[in-house]
Amino acid sequence: MVINRRGAAVKIWISAVVCTVAVLGSSLLFAGPKIQTWETPNGAKVLFVAAPELPMMDVRVVFDAGSARDGDKPGLAQLTASLLSEGAGDWNADQLAERMEAVGADFGTGSARDMAWATVRTLTEPKALNTALETLSTVIAKPRFAAADFDRTREAMQIGLRQSEQNPGAVVSKAFFATVFAGHPYASHPGGTQESLSAMVRDDLIQMHKKYYVTRNAVVAIVGAIDRKQAEEIAAQVTAGLPKGEHAPGLPEVALASEGVTEKVAFPSSQSHIRLGQPGMRRGDPDYFVLYVGNHVFGGSGLVSLLSDEVREKRGLSYSVYSYFNPMSQAGPFIMGAQTKNAQAEEALTVMQKTLQDYIDKGPTEEQLTASKQNITGGFPLRIASNRDIVGYLAMLGFYDLPLDYLDTFVDKINAVTTEQIRDAFQRRLKPDHFTTVVVGSSEATPGG
């Protein structure tokens, strides 16, 4: 109902844009929040930031249990995470939901390629806090995986797959990952396939849970109006039912395709959805800040990016056009994306390719780099302005084993990037001749189709 100029519906903005933690003062303008870290008695890593202003707390428990761990059973990680809240310990799904909602707690579980997670947001008033934590702790340690819940949730995922087949954006994304990461665990769709889900049995989930939902494979991130001592108790309580287990083994490295691949998928839509790219970088990559700033100039800064200027502002070809690196445990993708009416797909693709090639050849100008640095560093306080933002950072830092001064040194690292470094890194890292290009749209009008 609300139309937003740039992409996501406005409610997504509301959930994404936010507030606080008053550790920032003018003398500490570029310091991040004060992060404390320790291990629970049974071996889970904890990251904690005290945020005393609002009587609430966010806890996010992440496990190295994303779909990269699906093996030959695509969809397993997602089904496992979904079922956590469908029954655990003494409680069925109704009772779990009732417990959380009766105290106003927000609770959720989910998974992506690298991580699976359970999160809770609760008031710190004792009854709410205790109920929410007791429930969270039970959900991650003692899921029931009951047969009826298993069947229902699996069917919901299968219907979800069907729904995604009617969405050209989902179709193009799935095809892009399948090709860029062919042969790697990142290739398969986290939602699985109709066949893989049909073949799954309850014991698959039990095994997945047993192996990966363990403290050595977990990070607990906490932000809220509690002190260190309380946080220690909370972290211990949340993870108390988990065995120590072992950290999941490292994922294989991602290889660049030996040659470029172009796929055209016929789809009954008025627009063609375009994705092109290649494996990009991992978290902690030595080129991280250079590629991040370089991409900010190129396609990561919304309407003022070079890519948006060429495709949208100068030519009116697409509403949403962007590029980004998605750093993951192993090299996540570098993606360029846009959608345009079918007849213009070839033109849009050509403009995107040419804009990238020019950028790889020449790199940014000093002015462009300065503008991006100003945006990133000037906007630093916005990145850590809410408890929600901070708990997200904590989980990310803990999961990917990044240094705890990541936020404190962020601005300096951005400021140190030079035009020459960007040109060099883009030339070394991006190989358009090896790109995967996927166009999903009406076959009569897709380029060359």
Binding site: T20, Q163, L317
Partner: protein, 455 residues
């Protein structure tokens, strides 16, 4: 389940439950309202300018003009050429965007607090000095059409929603999509935007809301400096709009390429500004929370689990709209369940609310959720500003938000039952069904792997 929480949040407002900052209100002599809420938790501020104009102000032939104009507001003034607005905000570390709804158009920047003046200067400039260049318009309207294709044309559930509204309302402007009908976008002229801009973009039709680590007096001074010199305009308001009575249930079928059927239902319902009794809209909010206020509410418990008849089922209602709108239900059938069974199951849940009083336990649970959400929403300066701006712009007082929790807490089980009986009546029902057509293309799929270079 998520959806209803948002409705609750969207329709609630600036709380004083916990340590919420004080709100200061101020009016410039030209009629522009400035509302400032202090929130000193982070050294940032959000600044939003809200205009009383949106798709419900539009007449036949120009649907979508408010939204296209919103896009064009980034396309330059005498002082700043096209695109420079965004570049200046970006160079100051800001995030910016704008949004258009049925009842409002709003522009915002989130910035480090010491850059607030940049946003005031730019917003003031484009409030009065926009230059609508035909060549920029020609490109931007194409961008908007691409947006429409992305959001609606190629999304079967959005198409269903659009068709649903088009028949649910007869004379109410809520029948038109915010983004506009494609035909109207095809025929839109830059002159349409020019007159729309002149008609609605004036200080006395705007509210500025600032929330963040700011000092109210300093913000007022800034507003006076940048907006104070503007002359007020005579705003020729809209004629009253009253939806003509619906005299019987309406059904619409939407046939589009899709894989999964989808059901939408809506009953006519009053808004805060039009309700016969003050408590009715709040009772309606409680009613939809009983049905769909989370995973323990009736739809999730009885229809998704329980009977396993729906893979998803939702209920929503927004009390804070300029004109009366709908209590909406939607859902998608579980595997092996028919659309007729899903519809019957949704209706059975409504019947139950009409027949049996909601339990005290259910009401208390919803109150706990609302009280908690009032605390959680203070984690976002953007959201706090949004609530104030939205209430003001639909013609209500932002203070109404302060009373929101208390008003909901005052709702009794009898009142929930009363609004259920009064408004969930078949003659005022509209039902839309998405009937999937095959997605297979007439021509065989061409899938070429390898070979041609992506370059």
């Amino acid at each position: 389940m998520r959806r209803i929480i948002w409705i609750l949040l969207l329709s609630s407002c600036c709380s004083v439950v916990f340590a919420a900052g004080e709100v200061h209100e101020f009016q410039l002599s030209n009629g522009m309202k400035v509302i400032v809420k202090e929130d000193h938790r982070a050294p940032i501020a959000v600044s939003q300018v809200w205009y009383k104009v949106g798709s419900s102000y539009e007449h036949r032939g120009i649907t979508g003009v408010s939204h296209v104009l919103e896009h064009m507001m980034f396309k330059g003034t005498e002082k700043h050429p096209p695109g420079e607005f965004s570049r200046i905000i970006a160079a100051n570390g800001g995030r910016e965007n704008a949004f258009t709804g049925r009842d409002y158009t709003a522009y915002f920047q989130t910035l480090s607090k010491d850059r607030l003046e940049v946003s005031f200067e730019m917003e003031a400039d484009r409030m009065r000095n926009l230059i609508l260049l035909p060549e920029e318009f020609a490109k931007e309207v194409e961008v908007v059409k691409e947006e429409r294709r992305l959001r609606t044309e190629d999304k079967p559930t959005s198409l269903t929603y659009e068709q649903f509204n088009a028949v649910a309302f007869r004379s109410s402007p809520y029948r038109n999509p915010v983004i506009g009908w494609m035909n109207d976008l095809d025929n839109m002229q830059v002159e349409d935007l020019q007159s729309w801009y002149q008609r609605w973009y004036a200080p006395n039709n705007a509210t500025m809301v600032v929330v963040g680590d700011v000092e109210p007096k300093a913000v007022f001074a800034l507003a006076k400096k940048h907006f104070g010199a503007f002359k007020p305009e005579k705003i020729n308001g809209l004629k009253p709009s009253k939806e003509a009575a619906q005299r019987g249930m309406i059904r619409v079928k939407v046939r589009a390429p899709a894989r999964q059927p989808y059901l939408m239902m809506g009953y006519k319902a009053p808004a805060v500004s039009t309700a016969a009794e003050e408590w009715e809209p709040y009772a309606l909010e409680m009613l939809v929370a009983v049905l769909d206020g989370g995973s323990s509410a009736r739809f999730a418990r009885n229809l998704v689990r329980g009977q396993e008849i729906a893979v998803s089922a939702g209920a929503s209602y927004n009390a804070f709209t300029r004109l009366p709108s709908l209590i909406q239900l939607d859902g998608s059938p579980a595997e092996g369940q028919s659309m007729a069974d899903l519809e019957a199951a949704l209706l059975a849940e409504l019947e139950r609310v009409k027949k049996e009083l909601v339990s005290q336990q259910e009401l208390e649970k919803i109150q706990a959720q609302i009280i908690a959400s009032k605390v959680y929403e203070q984690d976002s300066v953007f959201y706090q500003a949004m609530q104030i701006g939205m209430l003001e712009t639909i013609g209500l007082d932002w203070r109404l938000g302060d009373e929101y929790v208390d008003r909901l807490k005052a709702v009794t089980a009898e009142q929930v039952q009363a609004v259920a009986k009064k408004y969930l009546v078949e003659d005022h029902l509209t039902v839309a069904v998405l009937e999937p057509l095959p997605m297979e293309m007439k021509q065989p799929m061409s899938q070429v792997a390898g070979g041609s270079r992506g370059h």
